[in-house]
Every structure is written in C-alpha cells, then in structure tokens.
Symmetry: C2
Subunit: 198 residues, 2 copies
C-alpha cells in the first residue's frame, strides 16, 4: 500500500496526483487516496500561517509552482496571486465516494484537481461539483447530495483526525509501510525506497 | 555565478555544501558562499517558529535529515533532538574571511560544517573555532580575532540585510542569474537550469 495524503488546495498535491498511480503500479502496490485539510494541520496544529500568506515564502512558492508546472508540462489555469481555493467540499465528497463508490475515487481526484488547478475553477459549494467530468459509475446528482451530507462531513472529520494522529501535516505526503515522505520532490525517494524493499 | 545561501545551523545546508562546488565546476560558474541567519529570516521576517520547534514538522524533519544523511553516506554526529546549534560566530567569521582571505572561504565552510554536523561540536564562542581544521593560509589566531571583531559583526549584519532584500529566506537557497531555487532537493533543478542556459 502507498498512502497518498493530499489537500485539493495544494498545487504540489496536484502535481503528485498525476504520477502517483504509475508509481504504485510500478511497485505492485495498492494506492489509498487520503484527503487532508492543511487549514487544520498547518494553522491549528502547527500554528503556522498559510504558505502563500507568509512573507518571502509566498512569493517564492508562486514562482516555484509556475516553474514546476512548466517543467512537467502541466498548465495552471489559476491566478497564483489569488488566495488558494477551498477544498472542504471536494474533500468531503471524496470521503463519501471512498466509502460508498470506492472504484470511482481516483477518477474523482483527477477530475477535482483538473477543475481547480488546470481550469482554475472554485468548488466552494456542493452544486459547484456539477461541472466535473465524473467517472460513469458516479452520477453527478448523487455526488452533489453526498457532498452536502452530514455523513460526508463526519467522514472527513474522522479522516483529518486520523491523518494528524499519524503525524501527516503537509501535502503531498506519501506513507509507505509506516515511512513518511513529505513533498512532491520526494517522489524519487519513495521510488528508491520501494525498489529497495522488493 | 552561483550564489549559495546557507545557514551553518541547517543540516540541508551541510548536505548541499558537499555538492555545490562540483555543480559550479560542471557548469563553469564561480561560487559565492553567502552565509545567512534563519533566526532572522524565519522568525523575525516570516513570523514562523523554528522548524524543529514546530509540532509534527519537527519530528518529520529529524527523520528526514537522518534518512537523507544515510542516503548520501554522510554521518551526522549531532543529536537531532537537541536544539540546533548557534551559527552566529562562524557566520561572522566567514564574512570576515570572504573579505580579507577570500581564497580560504570554501575551506572554512567545509571545516565549520564538518565540526558542527559530522562531529556535533558547538561553535558558540570565537575561541571554539580553535579546534577547526583550517586552510593553511588562515592562521587560527587570526580567525578567532576576526570572529570576535566588530568588523565581522557589521559585515554579517550587511550580508543578512542583503540576502533578505533579495528574497532569500531558507537554507540552502541557490540563486542563478537571478533565479532562486530553495532546498537541497532542488539541486537537480539548478543543474537542469544551468544546462539549458549554456
């Protein structure tokens, strides 16, 4: 198993989401999509400011995100000077889908990330999910209803508490057999680590 | 020119210091050793806590530093659970050496990093520098006197203000033709960037 922890508001999570399936496949591992909320880990638990609101670091991160996207050939359709989008609604939706339509999880992740980062859309309300390109086995009405449900909100609360309990704080974080790797730039190390354990 | 910005208290700066000369040589670039103080950039300007005192992140960084050192085959002779060492005195010494004995700069950097991170020594006072393995053209008495001088303190103040003015906040940071790259894990990108500009 590779646990892939990410926040939809994190562009480095977006980058990693494009490569994590082939990494898992290469090493014959299952993949667990683990939505998290940086607003909880970074601000409430760690007591830090959001990256983009931190003097000096905010400017650098905007530059690095744009440069990394160019390097990967991925378009960013979002104004990086705007505040990051809210990820609460899609994270709730994903928690519900993982439990009730697990086979649609990967498709939902890619669809949300493409909408938020490639196309620059905001997904602030459950009804904003209607524009997503969804897997065929995930009807859009069902998803909108799920995202607005108390079940989804409770599932995300549990998920956030669980990942904090496991020490996960940043997006993306990969956990392999209990070993954590934080950062998109650590994917090559995860690959190495997995190769050595075969 | 490659500007190499680093704080002696930063283990990632130590790792990078071991490879930055060969990177510069590979691309036919001069190297500028630029000491900085994370205590000023991170705490005063960015308003953040030290990495190791940040919940969750502190534990992860200790794990990542130990793992990265193993991966590189570099020993860490310092207890990573102790607070980071003070870098004020060696940073002042380096500023003085850069101005007055520039050809000894690289040797001093390697010697300080080896003492602090490989051997786990604290260099809190100018007299602590007497144990360093110094380049032959840098007499130890001269260095100890320099580290205690008001000239060195003033040079470091100017240096810290200059790097903050250039937007540098983390250690290590590489600046190539005005393009900043933050993090030891970005050295491969610096290499790519330099290759493309040849």
């Amino acid at each position: 198993m590779i646990e892939f922890h990410f926040d939809f508001l994190s562009p480095y999570g977006y980058f990693a989401s494009r490569f994590v399936e082939s990494l898992a496949e290469k090493h014959g591992r299952q993949l667990d999509w683990r939505p998290m909320l940086l607003g909880v880990s970074v601000m409430k638990v760690m007591g830090l400011k959001p990256l983009t609101a931190t003097p000096l670091k905010g400017d650098y991160v905007r530059l690095d995100v744009a440069r990394t996207a160019r390097r990967l050939g991925l378009g960013i359709g979002r104004d990086l000077n705007k505040p990051p989008p809210s990820s609460l609604v899609p994270a709730r939706a994903l928690c519900w889908v993982k439990k009730n339509r697990p086979q649609a999880s990967a498709g939902l992740v890619h669809s949300v990330y493409a909408a938020m980062w490639r196309e620059g859309k905001d997904l602030n309300a459950p009804t904003d999910l209607t524009g997503l390109a969804l897997p065929p086995d995930l009807p859009v009405d069902e998803l909108v209803g799920a995202a607005a449900s108390t079940e989804a909100a409770e599932l995300l609360r549990q998920e956030v508490a669980r990942s904090l309990g496991e020490g996960v704080f940043g997006s993306p974080t990969f956990v392999v057999d209990g070993e954590p790797f934080w950062g998109f730039d650590r994917m090559a190390h995860v690959d190495e680590w997995l190769s050595e354990r075969r």
